[in-house]
């Protein structure tokens, strides 16, 4: 990539299963992204504050516990509250088909369910970063 993209991968809530998040962190690194990882058990506000300090072009959230319907929109809300609603949020994890549209409507730009190829996820992050750089840099 011509420009260097910075993204943040966060794990909101009490869910401690971060194999999926770490897989994405590594896949994005290998695709040339600079990836900030927050570690597990973060609040939506902590993730938003970190994304702002790190000036990332996109935020990725991972949830395996079923709390995504509350936690993913909470991160969007926290970003809005902090005046950073322009930073796109993507999400993935154990997410039932019927929740995908609800999350999309809540402002999550892309949702990745189990079995999504890494290349699809990388392409979505690339697109989100490209758009953010074009609009805000």
């Amino acid at each position: 990539m011509a420009e260097q993209y910075r993204v943040l991968i966060g794990k909101p809530g009490l869910d401690g299963h971060d194999r999926g998040a770490k897989f994405i962190v590594r896949a994005l690194r290998d695709a040339g992204f600079e990836v900030i990882y927050t570690g597990i058990r973060r609040t939506a506000e902590e993730i938003a504050a970190a994304a702002i300090q790190e000036d990332v072009a996109a935020v990725g959230l991972s949830s395996m516990s079923g709390a995504h319907l509350r936690l993913f929109p909470a991160v969007i809300e926290a970003l809005n509250q902090a005046g950073a609603g322009d930073i796109p949020v993507l999400g993935g994890g154990i997410i039932p088909e019927e929740d995908v549209d609800i999350l999309r409507q809540a402002g999550i730009q892309a949702i990745f369910t189990p079995g999504t190829p890494a290349a699809t996820i990388i392409a979505a992050f690339t697109k989100a970063c490209e758009e953010h750089h074009r609009r805000h840099r």
Partner: protein
């Protein structure tokens, strides 16, 4: 982008403006240069820049997080620049130092920025010093600069910081011997972290031999268990004492003048590098790289100034 507006917000401590400003400098943009010119010089001069270095896994980030806690107790606003390596293959990076500092994630008086080396080999990234100055201009009175996990000769930090803390831990074996002839000689303070682990006593003894004078040993060698918050308050007291001494005997002034010169040289090289790289790739007549390099320099001097 309006640089004056960004500067105003940055000087008021707005996290978004600070983050954006560091990116502008890291991307080597023209706006970044304009921004650096407008930073509050008095705040920068008053702030203390402490380097944290050591091998991977010695506990740099945990100790840095501990220092932040104590500096916050003193009422200071604190900046942290944490550098991790870029992949030589993809150019990507995993920046994970923040995980050890999430205790402070919602504290607006703690400014954290993770940065990747982007090809630089000396333990820092090119924009690390500028990032620290941006944080200082935003009101941070102490900025902690954490290097990548280093080996023997990554001296960037010693040249840039007012004071450098070398963090070691038991279990690195013979590597310690090799380190004695390198960065260990020039670090201002040496910390044996994980001092509750087997082997830490012997490591401290080995390290005591680095200092010829007994009073230096007492002043400069220190033991901590960062994960248990042990020894961090006394480490901070030692740092303060050493800074006072450096102010009094002129060491601080001399270090900063040298840091300015060396960082200027670094930036000059960084700014020249793309042009040099293009010339190097553009087919040269000389068979030997040493001679081809001279040819490049001559070509560079003949180019019209932009």
């Amino acid at each position: 982008m309006n640089i004056q507006d960004l500067l105003g917000r940055l000087h008021a401590g707005d996290p978004r403006a600070i983050g954006r400003a560091i990116s502008l400098v890291e991307e080597q943009s023209r706006e970044g240069a304009a921004l650096l010119a407008g930073l509050d010089r008095e705040r920068i001069a008053a702030a203390l820049l402490i380097g944290m270095t050591g091998p991977p896994g010695a506990g740099k980030s945990t100790l840095t997080g501990g220092l932040v806690r104590h500096l916050r107790d003193q009422g200071q606003r604190v900046g942290i620049v944490a550098v991790d390596p870029s992949s030589p293959l993809s150019g990507g990076a995993v920046l994970g130092d923040r995980i050890r500092m999430m205790d402070h994630a919602l504290d607006r008086e703690v400014v954290v920025r993770s940065m990747a080396t982007r090809g630089r080999l000396g333990g820092l990234c090119a924009a690390a010093g500028a990032a620290a100055r941006i944080m200082a201009a935003s009101g941070c009175t102490t900025v902690l600069l954490e290097t990548v996990g280093v080996g023997q000769s990554e001296m960037d930090i010693v040249r840039l910081a007012d004071l450098t803390v070398m963090v070691l831990a038991p279990g690195f074996g013979d590597e310690i011997q090799a380190m004695k002839a390198g960065i260990l000689e020039v670090a201002d303070l040496i910390v044996v972290n994980k001092a509750d682990q087997p082997g830490s006593g012997k490591l401290a003894l080995d390290l005591a031999a680095v200092f010829a004078r007994a009073e230096d040993r007492d002043l400069r060698l220190h033991r901590t268990v960062a994960s248990e918050d042990q020894g961090i308050d006394t480490l901070l007291a030692r740092i303060d004492a050493l800074v006072q001494q450096y102010r009094k005997d002129g060491t601080l002034h001399r270090k900063r003048e040298q840091a300015f010169t060396l960082e200027t040289l670094d930036w000059a090289q960084a700014l020249l590098r793309p042009k040099l790289a293009a010339l190097a790739a553009a087919g040269l007549r000389n068979a030997d790289p040493r001679l081809a390099a001279e040819e490049i320099i001559i070509q560079l001097q003949q180019e019209p100034q932009s």
